[in-house]
Structure formats: structure tokens, C-alpha cells
């Protein structure tokens, strides 16, 4: 029995359409006879037989498109008995009989890297730039790149390690990492205090509307989708920045540079001491659910020490929410090169006059530390008032 398969009729043909049979079961077939018409992407081509015999049976109907190599018909060679019935079993493998190909060996000859004999630190320009920004001392970093070259991830890990004390590190190592992180924070805070003429403002915000709206909102949500009130604070700050853009800026080379995008940095306390303030990117454009998702992710990664350098280095303003730790008001230092720091204290039930009536209300102190070089007190107070107003219409956040 000879198999008549869908032929390959061109250098890049993968499948063909059987247009018509020119021979039918029972017809005699001779070498060179046209047995079928097949349509390729070019046109219809007459397909010849390469054996002598009788067409036993066709397996594919005209109009069908099948991959090359598919059995189209069975030809009984001269002298062979007729087949009682078709051989059972799966249709022949669809593709053309793949001729065993030798494995392709990657042949890009490795480029021999010429490495400077003299010692000195080998570091990529990107990594050198990043180290400067994150205050990482490259001398202390071992490079994971070829030939020990220091790369971006080496700096990121060093920065994160500085920010996260190793959990179960052997005793003598903990103080070392702790000390390095303290040094980094110390350097930043010293620079902040030395260079930035701070002024501080605070206001008290009635949180009742925010909290009642949140409680009813969370009632309608499944457990996993519940929101924290901190998210509303973050969104309020982000939206307020739209109205007071001077605060969404950095101070570089003696002039304020307004930032087009709003990336609010959230101070995250790390267990066992230490603090990082990674950014929630495009905070103003995010939904509350988006912010909740991103904030949860940031907290997890901050604690695991795997924050990306961009998250660490590009917040345009920072929020510190020490209310959790029971503090009522925060008068903090700005993270350079930012020009503002927003602080939220804890929510306390207190007497509050509403339309002349004294009532008990959940009150929260919001503070603003700002760089007097970049803006004046008037704009700072407009900012805090805007936050207060936005929190009174939580449904619009």
C-alpha cells in the first residue's frame, strides 16, 4: 500500500487545500498521472502520482485544507490484495515526515571581555548613578556581573539591605546592617535639616463622613476587597496636589522643579526598626482599589527587601501616617529632594462644635512640613484645607 500525502509545493508551504480528485477509488494510477488538484497560496497546481497501482480509497474531501504530509489517499500497488477494511489507528501524523535535524548549536562566539588588570571598582554606569542617588557606598558592594562587575540589582539589594535589618541574621551582622541603614537615614535627615528651611502647619479634620462612608462601603465588599482609611488619605493628598502643584516638586540646583506626575511616597515602618518610603506611582490617577492593591504590594515587598530602585527614588511627596502608632500629630523632616511631607495623626473621639452644638466626633490632626524655598505658608494652608474638603466627600475620591 502506498500513501498519497499532501505534497509540499513550494519553499514555504505549510498546508494545502484539496480542490478536486482527478482519480477516484478503483481507478488505475500510473507514474506521472495527475491524481488531484491542490491549491497553494499561489494558485491551483496539478499533483502527479509517483507509483503505479489502483486508487484504493480517498481520506480527504475536496474543499478541505490540511497540513502538508497528511495522507490524502491510499494506492494499492500492483499485485497487492485489496484491503478488507481500512487500517485502524490514528490518521498519519499530520506534518511532512520531519527529517531528523541535528540540534542547532548556539554559535554566537562569546566576545572575550578585556578586563582592566589594575584593581579598581568595576561598575556599570547605571549602577554608579543609582548608588549615588541611593547613598550606597560602592566599595562595600560585591558585583554579580561578569568578572565581578557591579550591576543595578547589586545596588538595589544593597539599598534594600540597608533599609531592612536581616531577620534572623547572626548577631554580629545585625548591628552592621542596622548601623548602615541608620547612617543612610542620618545622612538624608541631616541634609534635610541643614539645607531645607522648614515651616510646619497643622489642621484638625473631622473624619466622621470619611469613616461612615468607608464602613458602609466595606459592608458591601467581600473581605478581600476591603479598603483601609489610609487609602482615602493618600488619594486626598494626591488630588489636593492637583490644586496646589507647587508641593509636587523637587528642589534641585537652587530651583524648584515641578514634577508632571504625582507619585506619593508612603512611609512604611519595618518590623524591628528602619523605615522606607517607596512611591505609589501616578497616585492621582489610581482608583481606591488600585491604590489598595499597590499599597499592599509595596508593604509586602518593603518588608521582603525587594523594592525596585525607581520606587525608592522617585516619590514627589511623602506621607507619614504615625496615627497607627498612637501619635496625634507629626511634625517631621522632608525627604530631600522633595519639598513637602504630610503627616497624619491617630483618629481620636473628641468634643467638636457642629452648628453650635458640641458633639463627639472622630478627629484627626493633619500636618504639613514644607520647604520655604519652594513655597509659602499661604499655599501650604490651601493645601491642608483642600485635603480636609476632599475628605468630607469621600465618595468622590
Amino acid at each position: 500500500m502506498a500513501e498519497f500525502r499532501m505534497p509540499i509545493l513550494g519553499a514555504d508551504m505549510k498546508a494545502g487545500k484539496l480542490v478536486a480528485w482527478r482519480k477516484h477509488p478503483g481507478d488505475e494510477v500510473h507514474r506521472g498521472d495527475i491524481i488531484a488538484d491542490v491549491e497553494t497560496d499561489k494558485a491551483v497546481i496539478e499533483v502527479e502520482a509517483f507509483v503505479d497501482g489502483v486508487l484504493e480509497r480517498t481520506l480527504v474531501e475536496p474543499g478541505e485544507t490540511v497540513p502538508v504530509g497528511t495522507i490524502l489517499a491510499i494506492i494499492r500497488l500492483e499485485g497487492e490484495p485489496a484491503l478488507a477494511e481500512m487500517p485502524a489507528g490514528p490518521p498519519a501524523e499530520a506534518g511532512a515526515p520531519i527529517v531528523a535535524r541535528p540540534p542547532a548549536v548556539p554559535l554566537q562566539p562569546p566576545v572575550r571581555l578585556r578586563v582592566p588588570e589594575a584593581g579598581g571598582v568595576r561598575i556599570s554606569p547605571l549602577a554608579r548613578n543609582l548608588a549615588a542617588r541611593l547613598g550606597v557606598d560602592i566599595a562595600t558592594v560585591t558585583g554579580s556581573g561578569p568578572g565581578g562587575r557591579i550591576q543595578q540589582r547589586d545596588i538595589e539589594q544593597a539599598a534594600a539591605a540597608m533599609a531592612r535589618p536581616a531577620p534572623a541574621a547572626p548577631s554580629e551582622e545585625v548591628p552592621d546592617r542596622q548601623m548602615r541603614m541608620r547612617q543612610a537615614i542620618a545622612a538624608a535627615m541631616a541634609r534635610s535639616h541643614r539645607d531645607i528651611p522648614h515651616f510646619h502647619l497643622f489642621t484638625t479634620i473631622d473624619m466622621s463622613r470619611t469613616l461612615t462612608w468607608l464602613a458602609s462601603e466595606n459592608e458591601t465588599r467581600s473581605v478581600a476587597d476591603r479598603l483601609l482609611y489610609a487609602i482615602l488619605l493618600i488619594k486626598a493628598v494626591a488630588c489636593a496636589l492637583r490644586e496646589v502643584p507647587e508641593l509636587n516638586a523637587i528642589w534641585v540646583e537652587d530651583k524648584v522643579v515641578l514634577k508632571p506626575d504625582v507619585h506619593v511616597g508612603m512611609a512604611i515602618v519595618l518590623r524591628g526598626g528602619g523605615l522606607v518610603a517607596p512611591a505609589l506611582h501616578h497616585t492621582d490617577r489610581q482608583s481606591l482599589d488600585g491604590l489598595m492593591h499597590d499599597f499592599r504590594d509595596l508593604v509586602q515587598r518593603a518588608r521582603a527587601g525587594s523594592l525596585r530602585s525607581s520606587e525608592l527614588s522617585d516619590p514627589t511627596i511623602t506621607i507619614t501616617n504615625l496615627g497607627e502608632q498612637g501619635v496625634e500629630a507629626v511634625f517631621g523632616l522632608i525627604y530631600p529632594p522633595q519639598v513637602a511631607l504630610v503627616g497624619f495623626g491617630k483618629i481620636v473621639e473628641r468634643p467638636w462644635s457642629v452648628d453650635g452644638q458640641i458633639m463627639s466626633r472622630p478627629l484627626m490632626t493633619a500636618t504639613l512640613a514644607a520647604d520655604h524655598r519652594a513655597l509659602d505658608g499661604f499655599r501650604g494652608s490651601v493645601f491642608l484645607a483642600t485635603i480636609d474638603r476632599l475628605l468630607q466627600e469621600p465618595d468622590k475620591l
Binding site: 566576545v111 572575550r112 571581555l113 578585556r114 582592566p116
Partner: protein
């Protein structure tokens, strides 16, 4: 040592080859009776006769193809394609036959062929007669590409090419023919594939070849007056490319500028820059710079042509920016 011009140095190598090897013969437009488009083959017809100094019809594809066939069949032809601008008509023969037949035949055929052609701009010949396309040829595996910049190399590299079993293409910058220089007639063929440090320096590496060597040396002189010691490397061959010499220099200087008369985009300078980055990333204190021709069909007017071409002043300015 003998004082001679670049063209005389080429001629002396041709004459030596014709005398020593009966298989050698020269083919090209006006190489015989006219004495050569650049007078390189002047006098050879009288000495060696029309059989071996063959003027061809204006048929670049045919006489380059014929050179390939004759080389396969036991001869040692030296084909002069007048200028690189006319070689475009023979590109198929060069790429699909000369460079490919040895491989395609599974190593059975050798093509010991030398092809010489003038190249480059600087003589107000305008767009069609001023191309610098050696980089195209250097892209092709299967052939060698030589760019003699000095009188000594004009002779030494041609003699070396005649010892190669595979096709060699020699590009002689048109402005170099009248260049005066010293030649020691006893020194034999030069070494193919080795760059030469033409001027030592430890603050910046200037990589160049062929017609741009002069300007680059001039720039190095000006830089020295301003306290910057530049090392000048003459590639002498684009394929094979001597990266070892380049990287050894960059390790010392940490700064590299590649000077190449071709158009910047897709230039051979781009290839050298890429290989410096690949092989010497950690040596670099500054991104590799390139000084190439403006991306414009070569204008006729002198002041425009000079503005389009890389000049010593351009090189000096680019180097100084690397030292802000």
C-alpha cells in the same frame, strides 16, 4: 630606503609581482595604453605586453567575473576597478561569486584574486564619484578588505594580498596617490589583519584608516598643543579587524573616537564602536564617539564638500568634549 609616491609604491609592487609570478596579470579600464586612471599602471604595458596588461571594455561585471574565473583556473589576476563608485556594477560578482563560491562549493574552489579600487572624496567630483563604501565590503565574510594609508603599506599590503588564497579587496583613497613617503624595497609583504599605532598617547584613542589617517594625525597634533595626548591607530585592514590593538589602547586611554569618511549611519565606525562596547565595556569612561561624513550626497562646491567631510577640527572638538 627609497623616496617615492603612493602610486609609485603600488606600481613597484605590481611590477615585482608581474616579474616574479607568470600567473599574475592585470585587467581594468585603461590600465594599459592610457597608463591607468590614476597613472598607477603607467609603463607596465610597455614592459609586460598586452597579454598581461589588459585594457577592458567598460564592463565591470564581466571583467570582475572574468577575474574570478581566471583565478579559479590557476591564474593570479589583479583587477583594477578604477573607483569604488563603478564597483557597484560588479557587486553581484563580488558578493555572490567571489566571496561565496568557496563556501558554496564545500571548500573545493579557491579564488586567489586581488581587486584594487580608488575610494573616497575630497576632489570636488560630486556625489557619484566620491563614495566611501569600504564598510559595505567589510561586511562580507569570505573576502579580506585592506585600506593602505601610507606609502609603505601601499606596497607591502599589495604584496601580502598576492599571497592570499582568497579574494582580497584593496581600497586606495584617491587623495593619497601623490603622497610622498619612504619605502624599503627589500622589505617583503606586510602582515594582513594587524593595526598599527601611528602615534602613541594615553588620554584618548583615535581609530581610523585609509584617507582619514592624515586628518587624524593632524588633529592629534593640535590636541597635543592643548595638553591632550591622543593615540592614533591605523587599522590598515577592515576585515580581518584587529580589535586586540584597539582594546589595548582603550584600556590605557578609556576614551575612543572612530574617524571614518563613510556616512555615519551603518558606517564601519559603527561596527568598531559596537565591538569596543562589547569587548571593552569596563574600560570606558566615556561613550565611544564617531566622526563621519554628513549624511548627504557629496556636494560639488569646495566649501560644502569640506563641511560634509570629517576634518581635523571636527575631531579635535569631539575629543575636547570628552574631557569636560
Amino acid at each position: 630606503m627609497l623616496k617615492m609616491t603612493y602610486r609609485e609604491a603600488v606600481r613597484s609592487a605590481l611590477r615585482e609581482a608581474l616579474r616574479n609570478d607568470p600567473r599574475v596579470f592585470i585587467m581594468g579600464e585603461d590600465v594599459g595604453r592610457y597608463g591607468g586612471y590614476y597613472a598607477v599602471t603607467h609603463g607596465l604595458l610597455e614592459e609586460f605586453g598586452p597579454e598581461r596588461i589588459r585594457d577592458t571594455p567598460l564592463s565591470e561585471a564581466a571583467y570582475v567575473g572574468a577575474g574570478i574565473g581566471a583565478a579559479v583556473n590557476g591564474m593570479r589576476p589583479i583587477v583594477e576597478v578604477t573607483t569604488i563608485n563603478f564597483s557597484l556594477l560588479a557587486l553581484d560578482q563580488i558578493l555572490n561569486s567571489a566571496a561565496t563560491i568557496r563556501y558554496m562549493s564545500g571548500g573545493q574552489l579557491n579564488i586567489p584574486l586581488v581587486v584594487r579600487m580608488a575610494t573616497g572624496a575630497g576632489r570636488q567630483l560630486a556625489a557619484q564619484h566620491s563614495h566611501s563604501l569600504e564598510g559595505w565590503y567589510a561586511h562580507i565574510p569570505g573576502i579580506s578588505v585592506l585600506t593602505p594609508a601610507t606609502v609603505a603599506d601601499a606596497r607591502g599590503l599589495l604584496l601580502a594580498a598576492l599571497n592570499e588564497p582568497d579574494p582580497v579587496f584593496i581600497f586606495e583613497h584617491a587623495t593619497l596617490y601623490p603622497l610622498e613617503g619612504e619605502v624599503d624595497e627589500d622589505t617583503g609583504p606586510a602582515k594582513i589583519g594587524e593595526a598599527t599605532v601611528r602615534r602613541a598617547g594615553d588620554q584618548v584613542t583615535l581609530v581610523t584608516y585609509g584617507g582619514s589617517l592624515g586628518k587624524t594625525m593632524e588633529a592629534a597634533g593640535q590636541l597635543a598643543d592643548e595638553g591632550i595626548e591622543a593615540e592614533v591607530i591605523d587599522l590598515r585592514s577592515l576585515r580581518p579587524l584587529d580589535m586586540a590593538t584597539i582594546l589595548a589602547s582603550v584600556e590605557k586611554t578609556h576614551r575612543a573616537v572612530v574617524v571614518d569618511e563613510a556616512w555615519r549611519t551603518g558606517s564601519f565606525a559603527g561596527e568598531v564602536g559596537a565591538q569596543i562596547m562589547e569587548g571593552g565595556f569596563d574600560l570606558l569612561d566615556w561613550p565611544v564617539q564617531r566622526v563621519c561624513s554628513a549624511e548627504v550626497p557629496m556636494p560639488y562646491a569646495k566649501h560644502l564638500e569640506e563641511a560634509a567631510l570629517p576634518q581635523a577640527g571636527t575631531i579635535v572638538q569631539v575629543v575636547k568634549e570628552m574631557f569636560q
